[in-house]
Structures are given as structure tokens and as C-alpha cells.
């Protein structure tokens, strides 16, 4: 956009589609094309050839003979080919057939009586009035045509009608006799305008005879540029190749016809011309072999250029490449706030923000320009320079070290200056696949050394990013409106609460949670040095009073430290993630320090872990975002994570395989449990074989056995895990991670230390492989535990060969499953998005589509934004009651409420979500209905 035109851009109000008439083709044509040759011996385009300079230029230096423009100024102009004989347009074969069948062969009138026609017109009008869409109008016209086709005799002139058939792709026959395109065209010419409307055509923009081509439009050379190879050879575009074919045959046809060649030869050439024109439009027309390049590759002609994922529409029009964007590897930076992004200096120097020079900033801008494109600050640090100065007439002046002074002097009001990024600029940050709106959020820039984009780890979950080589994109906003929108709607803190379910998606992860746990679990105490270290990370200067004094030494409790970052009036109660599962007593909760009670901003009891600060589950994050606003929540996440990292650094934290060491006796116990289970299954099998197994209702005997065996073995695995778990205390690092929700689960641990358990494919014990057995290591028909995929080893002890194989079988199923699901769900997501993309909530609160049809009178029946809802409910009545009445519900009641409010989201969920929606796989456009 030219800067002087800013604010007065023109807007396309509408686009009308129409058919080109031969007259119009000739009128818009810059030149007639008659020769199939392209360039002469000197490499210049031949006049009236396919590369005629009237059609535009593709070589620098040459000028367009039509408009006089050079390469980038001239958009190109159309030419045309006069076809020696008319040829049918493939895209309209079906429509031509419909018209021929529905109209009289002699007088061209619609084969319906006046009254019938009126009825159909009325019906069509009614459909249109009721807001019928294209498909519905199509139904009416189809019905009209079908009715007309039934008539054998013309009601207007009484002519007997022949039977029109279509030999795919483009040959029409009447009662078996071939109709030449010329005859077809003559018939179509006879159809009166008023009869066309009923058949769904608009004669003002599309006369039916135009569907039989007499002149072929030749696209400008800019549409089909030839490329020069290194060898100096020219390689022509596929379209040019096709047009050359058309021209050649056209020429021969004309010569033969004029010379009075036998009818047979003329007809053959005519058909050949039809073939070339057909493949010029669509080289995938069914029924004819695709035209091929010399190398055997099918040519990419007009339709192929447009359709599909790599076609013009989806790859160049719906998605475009943009300027002012950057892409590089990402890496973590816990110091940054969650709404910041670290941008490498190199990128910042290239990315610019346009600044419009006005009287208030003229002098300031001049000093920027004067500094040139690579200024440094007083300490040699990065300072923003200016890359381009844009004059009101749209000319860009590149600012260099040399011309900076001169250019700066010339800067006047009305100029635009492209300033490099500075800290605080707002940019969009994105990671593909962009599955939800949190995949693209606005961050504030922090220009930094080194070459990666950096951001806070708490933002990994919404982007689904990790740092194993992921790359991300950054876009610099170019207009004030865009920046305003981004700042209000798109900043990271505005997305802490997910619109999917109204809970937080941003919060502490991994070490943040471990750190919080270490900081707050039970009576964790910290010395003065440690406390100053932790608090220095979050910029708290005043040390709170010490909680404990012991032996002349002062100690601060972790809970008190954590309380320092909570709002002073925050009160809430919930269960920690480490709380034992199930309905348990208050005493037990307290024992484990897993009932979090926050009163007036002070953590009175409980351990701060995933249920408090975690992404997806953090109750404190949720409450802060909801009640104290996004900025408070952002600040809290920043501080809580930094503090957690401070705490974990003091204590130190590591885990290794020896965390799964269990004593010999425990191993023995596990072995006993597993052995007992296997024997029990053996017993079941025995009774099954003897026919003594009691059948479960609705199941066959075999199924009963399988279910029972699965049950027993599942229980055995759990028991093994429990035995192992008993010997792994809460001081064990792996256990800390699993219980606090930082990473891993108790199941993972029990598989490492206890037993891996039953492997399953399609929810059943393994059974396939050899005849009647899984592996040749077992007897045929062995239904015992080990023969059907029970792995009794643990990951730590290592697997037996057969177990290893079974494990691989189970693992393979998972992989196949994800692979299959991703493609299917990708396509579903594309369809869903396409269906819903242009719905919007209008000023009156209704949800409407682009046709202004009301889809919902009020969004979601109550007009509530799901991301502002309290787990789906419009208001949290309990919370309000508590606040207003000041009543303290009993802890049990409060917990029940919280239980209800838990989103049930685990890592598994994330996995499901991702796999359900991941990358799109092109579903090749299947041909339309027929």
C-alpha cells in the first residue's frame, strides 16, 4: 500500500462472474495469435506468436507493447486465438447436454408449455425469496430440465424430438447421429433468453452458445512465464505447450478445410482440436488420456492450477506468503515474562514497524533516521535503526550508513519511516499446526543476542511447543488497528483461560511444579541466604518476618514465601495433586499436607503443586485470571514459576533409574503376586477347558475367560505397582514428580519398578501371530498369561525376548492408531472450520452467517463466552454466595464443589486433543456427485 494512499484505500465491493462471449474475447484481446512459434533466432518474441510482447513482458529490460510498462509494472494482457471450427468447452458439457435435451431441436424453445414454465419460474422465485442457496436453486432448475426432457414433441412448433446422448467427454449424438460442435452451437443460439432463466442460466452474462468456443482466450505471458535454464535453453510453461498444440492443429484444420480436404480428415483434425482445447482446460478429464510433457509427466493445465491443496486457491489465495515475518528455532528463557518473546538482533534489524511522520514526532524520527540502519546504544547494545524511508509518492529510499544524514534531512511530514523493532513492540507469535486460537498470540518484543526466539516455558502448552528443534514464526504488525486488536485481544494473558472449557491453559509445567512442591510441602524451611536468593528472583526487597527461630537461627517457611505473591484478599480451598485418590478423611488429607487452604492471601496449609499452579489444572491461576484479571494472572504465573525455579535450585533435583530401586524382599513379593496371578489364570484356563467356567451373561465362554484373565492380570499389575510404590517414598524424586503432577505418573513408575503388565491389541490379550498361538515359543492353544502377552518384567529389570516382542506389538498398535486418526481428524477439522469460519456475533447479539441468516438468536443460548464461563456455567453462584454472605462452607462441601469444577484434563487428554486435530492431510477432491 502506498503511504500517501493510506486511509483511502479502495475496496472491492463485489465480484461478478460471467461467461466471455467471443466478441468480448476479441475486444479484450491485445493481439490475435496465429503462429505456434514463440521466439525468433535472436531470442525475441515473435509477433502474433504466443510470447508476443503485446501480451506483457517477462524479461527485464523489455517493454510491453500494449501498455509500455516494464516487467513489474505491466500486469500482462490477454490475446486470443480464432478457432477454425467451434469447439465445446469441457466444463460445460453437462450443461450443454441439459440444454439440448430440454429445448426443441428446431425452434429452440423450452419443451414445456407456457403454463408449466410459469409454474417453474414461480417456484424458483419462491426459493430465491426464501433465501435458498445455490444448491437449492439448482434443484429447481434440475427438476425443470428433467420435466422438459420428458416431452417428445415440442409444444410450440410441434417438432418431433430426437434423443440426445453424450459420449463422454465431449461428443453429442442425436438418435445416434453425431452432432458437430457447430450444430450444437447453432441449436444453442436458438434458445430464447426467457427460456434460459428457468434452466438456471443468466442470459445477460452467459448465452449458451458461448459454451461452444469460437475464440480461445490466451492468457498473458506473465501467467505462463518461460524459464531459462542454466544451459541457456528455454523451457516453456505447460500452458504455453498446450496452446502451441492448439495453434498447430488449428492451423492445419484451417488449411485442410480451406483446401477442401476430405470430410474425414477435417473431422479428425476437428476432434484433435477438441482434444487439445479440452486438455488445455482440464487435463484430468475422465475418458481421455491426459496430455503429457515430453518427459511423460502429465501437463498441469488450467483446472490443475486452481484446484487442490497446492492449487492457486488454497496455496496462493487463501494462504499467502507475507513480509515482516521471521522464523527460527525456539529456546526457553525463564527470565522473560509469559507475554514476552526474545527476538534475535539479526531478526530485529530486518523486521520493521512503519512510523508515520507527523508534526509531533518529526524531530524524533529524524534522529532515528540519522543513526542509520545499524545503530548501537551507549553501551554498544542494540538500538533500533531505520531501514527504509518511504516518500508520500510511494518511493522507498533504502537508508545506509552513507546516506543516513542526507535522507534524515529530507524527512518531512507525510513520510513514513520503517523503524526496526524495539523492546515493547507488539508482535504475533505462532507455531504450526495452528489448531486453536492460542496457537497465535501477541507477545511483546525483547531484542536479545543469539539466534533463537525465546519465550517463557509456561507458554509451551498452548503452542504445544518443546525445544527439540521446533521452529516458530513471528509477524510484525503494520497498522495501528492491527496493533490495537493484538494488544486487546491476542496477548498471552488474554488466553490464560481457554475458550474450549473455560479453564487455564497456561501455567507452571515440569520443574515449576516440582519447585513449588519443594518450596511448600510440609514444613519446608529456608535460611536467610536461601530466602534472599529466592525472593531476589521475583523482585521482592522486603524480607517477611521469619516464621521459626531455632538455635539462634532464623527460618522462613516455604508457604509464607509463596503467600508473598498471592493477592491479599484471596481465599480458597482445594485438594493438592498429591492428595491420595478417593474419598478420604480430613485427617488423612492434613497428614499428607494435601488440603490447600488459602485465607486472606496466606497459604495456611497444603502443598502447592499442579492443582494450584499447573497448566490445565491450576486452581489459583484459574481464580486469579477470572477474579483479578489477566494481568494479575500473568504476574502471578511469572512470579510463581520464578520462585519455584529458585526453590528447586536450592534443593537440587534429579532422577535416574536408581530411583526405581526396590529392596530384594519387595521384588520377591512382586514376583509372588505375579506368580499367583499367572497361576490363577492357569486355573481359569483349566476350568474353561473342562467346561466348568461360569459364563457371564451376554458373553461367550471364550470372552468370559478373556475378561476374567484381563481382570486378574490387571489387578496383579496394580498390586505389583503398589508394592513397588510402598517402597518408594515421597522423598523419591520420581515419586515427587508423579505425585505433584510435574511429569510422569505412578503408573509409569510401577511399570518401571514393578511389572509392565498385560499387553493388548484392540483391547484384547494378544492372540495373533502363528496358528493358535502368539509365538512358536508356546504350545498351540495355550491360553495362559505369558502366552498371551502378559509382561511380568519391569522396564528396569528388562524384558524377556518374548515379552519384548509382545511389548512391541502393543506399541505398534498405538503408533498405527495415531497415524490413522491424525489424517481423519485433520480433514474433519478442516471441514468444521470451513463451515463455521464466517459466523459472527452481530451488534444485536445474534449469530449470523455472511448471507445474514440468523444461526442463533443468542450465542450458546445464553450469550456467555465459554472462556469467561466457570466450567460452562455463566456464573459461579457458590463463589458469589460465599463472598456476599461471608459464610464458610465446610471443607467437604468446598471440596465437592471443586471436584465438580475439575476439568478432568490430564496429559492423556492433551495427547488425544493433539492427535484428534493435528496436521491436515489432503483429501483429494473427489469428482462431484457423478
Amino acid at each position: 500500500m502506498m503511504s500517501s494512499m493510506r486511509g483511502v484505500t479502495k475496496r472491492i465491493a463485489s465480484i461478478k462472474f460471467a461467461l466471455l462471449s467471443p466478441d468480448e474475447i476479441r475486444r479484450m484481446s491485445a493481439t490475435k495469435i496465429i503462429t505456434a512459434d514463440t521466439y525468433d533466432d535472436d531470442g525475441f518474441p515473435i509477433d502474433m506468436g504466443l510470447m508476443d510482447s503485446h501480451l506483457g513482458v517477462i524479461e527485464p529490460g523489455l517493454r510491453c507493447k500494449t501498455c509500455g510498462g516494464k516487467v513489474d509494472d505491466c500486469p500482462g494482457h490477454f490475446g486470443h486465438i480464432d478457432l477454425a471450427m467451434p469447439v465445446i468447452h469441457v466444463g460445460y458439457v453437462k450443461d450443454i447436454k441439459k440444454l439440448l435435451q430440454a429445448t426443441c431441436r428446431k425452434c429452440g424453445r423450452l419443451l414445456l408449455t407456457r403454463q408449466q414454465a410459469m409454474e417453474y419460474i414461480a417456484e424458483m422465485e419462491q426459493v430465491e425469496e426464501l433465501g435458498g442457496d445455490v444448491t437449492e436453486v439448482g434443484y429447481v432448475t434440475k427438476e425443470t430440465a428433467r420435466e422438459a426432457q420428458k416431452r417428445q414433441r415440442c409444444p410450440h412448433c410441434g417438432e418431433e424430438q430426437g434423443k440426445i446422448t453424450l459420449d463422454k467427454p465431449t461428443t453429442f449424438r442425436e438418435d445416434g447421429h453425431k452432432l458437430t460442435p457447430k450444430e450444437v452451437r447453432e441449436r444453442l443460439e436458438r434458445i430464447p433468453n426467457e427460456d434460459l432463466r428457468v434452466l438456471g442460466m443468466n442470459p445477460e452474462v452467459a448465452r449458451p452458445e458461448w459454451m461452444v468456443l469460437t475464440a480461445l482466450l490466451v492468457p498473458p505471458v506473465t501467467v505462463r512465464p518461460s524459464i531459462t535454464l542454466e544451459s541457456g535453453d528455454r523451457s516453456e510453461d505447460d500452458l504455453t505447450h498446450k496452446l502451441v498444440d492448439v495453434l498447430r492443429i488449428n492451423q492445419r484444420l484451417r488449411e485442410n478445410r480451406d483446401a477442401g480436404a476430405p470430410q474425414l480428415i477435417v473431422e479428425d483434425l476437428w476432434e484433435l482440436l477438441q482434444y487439445h482445447v479440452t486438455t488445455y482446460f482440464d487435463n484430468q478429464t475422465s475418458g481421455i488420456p491426459p496430455a503429457r510433457h515430453r518427459s511423460g509427466r502429465p501437463l498441469k493445465t488450467l483446472v490443475q492450477r486452481l484446484k487442490g491443496k497446492e492449487g492457486r486457491f488454497r496455496s496462493n489465495l487463501s494462504g499467502k506468503r507475507v513480509n515482516f515475518s521471521a522464523r527460527t528455532v525456539i529456546s526457553p528463557d525463564p527470565i522473560l515474562s509469559i507475554n514476552e518473546v526474545g527476538v534475535p538482533v539479526e531478526a530485529a534489524r530486518e523486521l520493521t514497524v512503519p512510523v508515520h511522520v507527523q508534526s509531533y514526532n518529526q524531530e524524533l524520527v529524524k534522529t532515528w533516521v540519522k543513526r542509520g540502519p545499524t545503530p548501537l546504544g551507549a553501551f554498544g547494545e542494540y538500538a533500533p535503526g531505520v531501514n527504509y524511508v518511504i516518500r508520500p509518492d510511494g518511493r522507498r529510499i533504502r537508508v545506509t550508513e552513507k546516506n543516513a544524514e542526507v535522507v534524515a534531512e529530507a524527512v518531512e511530514i507525510g513520510y513514513t519511516v520503517e523503524r526496526q523493532l524495539v523492546d515493547g513492540d507488539i508482535v504475533l507469535f505462532n507455531r504450526q499446526p495452528s489448531l486453536h486460537r492460542m496457537s497465535m498470540m501477541a507477545h511483546e518484543v525483547r531484542v536479545m543476542p543469539h539466534k533463537t526466539f525465546r519465550f517463557n516455558l509456561a507458554v509451551c502448552p498452548p503452542y504445544n511447543a518443546d525445544f527439540d528443534g521446533d521452529e516458530m514464526n513471528l509477524h510484525v504488525l503494520q497498522s495501528e488497528e492491527a496493533r490495537a486488536e493484538a494488544r486487546v485481544l491476542m496477548r498471552v494473558q488474554e488466553h490464560i483461560l481457554s475458550p474450549r472449557f473455560g479453564g487455564p491453559v497456561i501455567g507452571g509445567i515440569h520443574d515449576h511444579i516440582t519447585g513449588s512442591f519443594l518450596l511448600t510441602h510440609k514444613e519446608s524451611k529456608f535460611t536467610r541466604e536461601e530466602v534472599t536468593y529466592i525472593l531476589s528472583k521475583i523482585d521482592i526487597r522486603d524480607l517477611p518476618p521469619p516464621d521459626v527461630k531455632k538455635g539462634g537461627k532464623e527460618f522462613w517457611s516455604g508457604k509464607a514465601l509463596f503467600s508473598a505473591i498471592l493477592p491479599k484478599d484471596l481465599s480458597m480451598t482445594f485438594k493438592s495433586s498429591i492428595a491420595p485418590k478417593g474419598d478420604i478423611g480430613l485427617k488423612e488429607l492434613k497428614e499428607e499436607d494435601s488440603l490447600v487452604v488459602i485465607k486472606d492471601g496466606v497459604v495456611a496449609s497444603g502443598t502447592i503443586d499442579e492443582n494450584a499452579v499447573g497448566a490445565f489444572k491450576g486452581k489459583i491461576v484459574d481464580k486469579l485470571a477470572r477474579d483479578y484479571g489477566p494481568d494479575a494472572a500473568r504476574e502471578f504465573i511469572d512470579k510463581a514459576t520464578k520462585m519455584a525455579i529458585g526453590a528447586i535450585m536450592i534443593r537440587g533435583f534429579t532422577t535416574g533409574i536408581d530411583d526405581e530401586d526396590i529392596p530384594e524382599e519387595a521384588k520377591k513379593q512382586i514376583a509372588d503376586v505375579l506368580k499367583a496371578a499367572i497361576e490363577k489364570v492357569e486355573g481359569l484356563v483349566e476350568s474353561y477347558k473342562r467346561g466348568e467356567l461360569e459364563q457371564m451373561p451376554g458373553r461367550s465362554l471364550e470372552e468370559t475367560l478373556e475378561v476374567e484373565a484381563m481382570k486378574i492380570l490387571g489387578r496383579a499389575r496394580d498390586q505389583a505397582g503398589q508394592i513397588a510404590g510402598k517402597h518408594l517414598g515421597i522423598e523419591n524424586s520420581a515419586v515427587i514428580m508423579a505425585r505433584s503432577g510435574a511429569r510422569g505418573s505412578m503408573l509409569n513408575l510401577s511399570q518401571m519398578a514393578g511389572s509392565i503388565g498385560q499387553q493388548a491389541v484392540r483391547g484384547e490379550r494378544l492372540s495373533r501371530g502363528y496358528w493358535n498361538r502368539t509365538l512358536p515359543h508356546f504350545k498351540k492353544g495355550d491360553l495362559g498369561a505369558e502366552a498371551k502377552g502378559f509382561v511380568k518384567s519391569s522396564y528396569k529389570s528388562g524384558l524377556h525376548p518374548t515379552e519384548y516382542f509382545f511389548h512391541a506389538m502393543g506399541g505398534r498398535e498405538g503408533l498405527v492408531d495415531t497415524a490413522v486418526r491424525t489424517s481423519r481428524s485433520g480433514y474433519m477439522q478442516r471441514r468444521l472450520i470451513n463451515a463455521l469460519e464466517d459466523l459472527k456475533v452481530k451488534e444485536d447479539g445474534t449469530v449470523r452467517n455472511t448471507a445474514d441468516t440468523i444461526i442463533q438468536f443468542k450465542f450458546g443460548e445464553d450469550g456467555v463466552d465459554p472462556s469467561r464461563s466457570v466450567q460452562g456455567r455463566a456464573v459461579d453462584i457458590d463463589d458469589i454466595l460465599q463472598e456476599v454472605l461471608g459464610e464458610e462452607p465446610s471443607w467437604k462441601e468446598r471440596l465437592r464443589e471443586q471436584e465438580m469444577a475439575s476439568y478432568g484434563l490430564t496429559e492423556k487428554d492433551m495427547y488425544v486433543e493433539i492427535s484428534e486435530e493435528e496436521v491436515e492431510v489432503e483429501e483429494e477432491e473427489p469428482p462431484s456427485e457423478e
Partner: protein, 530 residues
């Protein structure tokens, strides 16, 4: 057998493989042949057999003939037994020359091995030695079901097409792994909440099904409640058998009598009872086609009299007879069309009936059914019977429950929006090319989704106009979308008396570039379009 179709022979060989019969393929000048080794004769007779009496006789003879002990076994060669034969032979003091050959070549026919094993055992008994531990391994080789086939040559096949790794057919998930072995990959089905014996599509496949607005779900299911007496198991059971669709096929074995050109159906008493069908009922139903008679029936080698439903073909036409069989087979005796199974399940105090198959309109006609609680998972049926609003709610419920079962929490408002979109104009439309996306008001938006060329061509002859209201269209033409700050146009009218916008100092136009026309607005009205 022989045929000039290689494909047929290959196919038969594969099919025989399913029965553990491994035949050897051969080739003559014009014919492809297939020989079944005689050792499979018994298996062949048991599981396949011949049609013609003569062949049956010969086959029986072949099976009872113990001969063929010394046939050379070229096909089923066992390999990889190392020194086992020799060791045993040595121990038993059988001259090792008998087995040297086999040990050197490391292959031995299965029959030959069997012979040797029994010979070893006999010898061991003779000598009173225990060679069990040695022979055991050999016997295991004999018993195993691995088929050893000789690799004649290994040949690298140059790819005739581009290489692909995934041979699956989209949607079907069926792929060919090796020589004709077809693997079918079904999506997981889950057990319906509480109904162990009923499989129901859940998860992603189900979600796609809902969004596609399929006419019939892949696993139609109904949940039926009764107005009263839901605690009475007997009564519920009666209702269940009553609605379960029963055809002749379900209760009778059907035979064709080619001699008399008639079709016979022999109802099975046991099956009739479990389906709750009585003879008078059956005869009443059958009146139109034929009648019940006492006929002689061949069961095995015994001829017995049995009561059968007989349909005469009338004329001697096999085609007609074939049609009649089909007609008899599918003839409905009782129950409701489409309900193939009904299961009673305890729900709280009383019982609920779950059905496989769905037919809402017919079910609701039953007087004892509580229509207010009865439901089906077929959205289309709900639409047809109860109307569009019910269909809208059905979509919401089905989609929401499907997501819930997967443990996904999604705000119900999102699902309502999808559902409202699908049902907006009084018709259940699919999400996708044939539904919503194909009916958008904008040509460009439709073209950008799928079947691009079709939409553009159609738009041209109908003279469609795209008003560029939606997101996709505006992105395509490259202008701001009508959302957010793009949704409003700001018109600023400066107060009177304000000087005209400052004249922009015009720098010298570039010598080469065409000068754009001055864009100074005449009016003090300035439209600002972001």
C-alpha cells in the same frame, strides 16, 4: 485342477491355505495347474469336499488308503534341525548313512521325518532305551505349523510406480500385506456404557459420523423405556422378543428341493421358542407364500418326517427358485423392521431395552413405550419423526456425549453452534462439501474449499455475484476482513473552519515510474478504511 486363468489358480491356492491345505502350483503350455498333495486329502474332504458323487467316492477311497508312504515330499520340507537326526541315530546304533544325507542337506520331507521318528521310537523300544529327550525336538518340528517352502530365487522387482509406504484405502482401512493376504483394520469400537454385549461406534469415527449427517449411523442403537411396569423383568422380556425382528432365516434352515422345484424351510423348535414364535403364528404369516406340510427330510443318512413350510415354485425355472429362496429367507415373521436385537438392561430401579438397529417411528407407535424418554442415536430418524429442533438437540447430545466418553471437556456452546449451523434451514446438512461448505453464499469461499473448478464454472453461467462479506473471500482478494477493526468504517467530518488537509509536498516524480494520479480528496469527507 487346471485352468487357463492364473489368477483363479492363485486365488484357489490362497483359499486352500486358509484351510491349512497347501497345494503346489504348476504350469503347462496353456494351462495353470494346482495339485493338492494327498496328505491333505483328509483335510480337504473334511472341510471342502466334492460335489459330484464319483469324485466323493474317489476322495473317500484316497483318504482311507494308507499308502503313499514313500511319496517324495517336495513341497513340505522341514529345515533347520542341525545334527538332531544323526545324534539320535548314533545313539540308537542305526547306521548313520540313513540320515547323513538329510543332515548334510538340512532338509527333509515332513512325511519322511515322521517315518524316521516312528522308526527311532520303535528302535528305542526294542533296545529299551529312553531317547525321549532327543526325539522330542524332532516331534516338535513335525507338529509345528510353520510351512517350509523353498525359496527358488530372490529377485528384486523394479518399482513400476512411485513407491508408497501406506497401502491403505482411505475410509476402508483395508490393505494388502503380501501375496493376496488382506488385512482389515477396523477402528476401535467401544463397549456401550453398561451394555457389555453391544458394540457401538465411539470416539472420532462416531464424531465424524455425526458431523457428516449420515442417514444411518454405523451402529444404530435405541434406548427404550416403557410407560409402566419397567420393573417387571418378564414383561420387559416379552416386549423385547416382540420388537426383535425375526425372519424365517432366524428360526429355520432353508433348503431347496430341486426335484420338486420348491423351497423348504424347516423351523427349529428351540430357535422358535427363544424368539417367541408359535406355529399358528408362523403359518398365518406364511399363508401368502405357501403352506406347512409334513415332508420327508434327509438328515445325514436317515430320512425323517418333518414339518416344513413349503413354497412351490410353480414353473421349472431356477431363477425363480433362487428368487423364492431369497424371498423366504428374508420374510419377516414378527417384530419391527430394522431392530435386529433387543437386550434388557437394568437401569436403576427398573429395566431398559437397548436395541441393535433403529426404527423410531415404528417404536413410538407401540402403546406401552414411553415416548418422552425413548431415544435413538440416529439423528436422521429423529429429524424425520420429531422434527428439526429435536434433531438439533440430538446432534448436540450425541456429539457432547461422544466427546465426554473420550474424557474431553468441551464447552457445550461450541457444539450447539455446530448443531445450529447444521440444522439452520430446517434440514440436517452435513459439514463439508455436500452440506454447509457447498452452500455458502460466496463463490470464492466455495471454490477455496473443494471442487474448485465446478463452482467457478457454475458461477459463470448463473452470473453469480460475490459480495465479499465473509472471511475467506476477503483473504482471497487481499483486503481486510469484515471483523474486528475491519468491521467498521470510520467517516470523519472535520468541523467547519478547519484548514484543509495539509498539502503534501510533492517530490519530483521518478523519471521511470508512472505517476499515480494525485489522490487528494476534493471533499473534506475522508473515509478511513483500515
Amino acid at each position: 485342477m487346471s485352468s487357463n486363468s492364473k489368477g483363479l489358480i492363485d486365488g484357489i491356492a490362497l483359499l486352500l491355505g486358509r484351510f491349512d491345505i497347501f497345494a503346489s502350483k504348476g504350469e503347462t503350455a496353456a494351462q495353470h495347474t494346482l495339485r493338492i498333495p494327498r496328505r491333505y486329502a483328509k483335510r480337504f474332504r473334511a472341510s471342502i469336499g466334492f460335489e459330484s458323487k464319483e469324485k466323493q467316492r474317489l476322495l473317500a477311497a484316497l483318504c482311507s488308503d494308507p499308502g503313499g508312504r514313500y511319496t517324495y515330499d517336495a513341497l513340505d520340507m522341514i529345515s533347520g534341525y542341525g545334527d538332531a537326526l544323526r545324534t539320535v541315530a548314533k545313539r540308537l546304533r542305526i547306521p548313520t548313512r540313513y540320515v547323513n544325507n538329510f543332515t548334510r542337506r538340512q532338509r527333509i520331507g515332513r512325511a519322511t521325518l515322521a517315518r524316521y521318528v516312528s522308526r527311532f521310537e520303535a528302535r528305542a523300544r526294542e533296545l529299551g532305551m529312553n531317547v525321549e529327550s532327543d526325539v522330542q525336538g524332532l516331534r516338535a518340528l513335525l507338529d509345528e505349523d510353520v510351512l517350509w517352502d523353498e525359496i527358488l530365487e530372490v529377485e528384486e522387482v523394479p518399482p513400476s510406480r512411485d513407491l508408497v509406504y501406506d497401502l491403505s484405502v482411505p475410509g476402508l482401512e483395508t490393505f494388502t500385506t503380501a501375496d493376496g493376504i488382506v488385512t482389515h483394520n477396523t477402528m476401535r469400537t467401544f463397549h456401550y456404557a453398561g451394555v457389555a454385549e453391544m458394540n457401538v461406534t465411539l470416539g472420532l469415527p462416531r464424531l465424524i459420523e455425526i458431523v457428516d449427517a449420515r442417514r444411518v449411523p454405523s451402529t444404530p442403537i435405541m434406548e427404550l423405556y416403557v410407560k409402566s411396569g419397567h420393573g417387571d423383568l418378564e414383561k420387559m422380556r416379552k416386549i423385547a422378543t416382540e420388537i426383535e425382528m425375526t425372519s424365517i432365516e432366524d428360526i429355520a434352515s432353508i433348503e431347496t428341493d430341486l426335484v420338486n422345484m420348491r423351497v423348504l424351510a424347516f423351523p427349529d423348535d428351540h430357535r422358535m421358542k427363544s424368539r417367541g414364535v408359535t406355529w399358528p403364528e408362523l403359518e398365518e404369516r406364511f399363508k401368502k407364500l405357501g403352506e406347512a406340510q409334513e415332508v420327508k427330510r434327509q438328515v445325514g443318512n436317515v430320512e425323517r418326517k418333518a414339518r416344513a413350510l413349503v413354497v412351490e415354485a410353480g414353473e421349472p425355472s431356477f431363477k425363480k427358485l433362487q428368487r423364492l429362496v431369497e424371498q423366504v429367507r428374508t420374510m419377516k415373521i414378527k417384530g419391527i423392521d430394522g431392530i435386529s436385537r433387543a437386550i434388557i438392561k437394568k437401569r436403576g430401579e427398573g429395566y431398559v431395552i437397548y436395541t441393535e438397529g433403529s426404527n423410531l417411528s415404528k417404536i413410538l407407535e407401540l402403546p406401552y413405550i414411553d415416548a418422552s424418554r425413548t431415544s435413538t442415536n440416529s439423528v436422521q430418524e429423529i429429524y424425520e419423526v420429531l422434527g428439526i429442533e429435536a434433531a438439533r438437540n440430538a446432534i448436540v447430545n450425541e456429539a457432547y456425549n461422544t466427546l465426554q466418553e473420550q474424557g474431553l471437556t468441551v464447552d457445550i456452546r461450541h457444539i450447539m453452534l455446530v448443531s445450529d449451523m447444521m440444522t439452520n434451514d430446517g434440514d440436517v446438512k452435513a459439514i463439508g462439501r455436500h452440506g454447509i461448505s457447498g452452500r455458502k453464499s460466496s463463490v470464492l469461499a466455495r471454490a477455496a474449499f473443494e471442487i474448485t473448478a465446478h463452482h467457478l464454472l457454475r458461477a459463470a453461467i448463473t452470473g453469480e455475484v460475490d459480495y465479499l462479506d465473509g472471511v475467506a473471500e476477503n483473504v482471497i482478494v487481499g483486503q481486510p476482513v469484515t471483523l474486528g477493526t475491519g468491521a467498521v468504517n470510520l467517516i470523519y467530518k472535520p468541523p467547519p473552519g478547519l484548514p484543509k488537509p495539509m498539502a503534501v509536498p510533492k517530490p519530483k516524480p521518478a523519471a521511470t515510474a508512472p505517476v499515480p494520479p494525485p489522490s487528494e480528496p476534493e471533499e473534506p469527507l475522508e473515509e478511513i478504511v483500515p
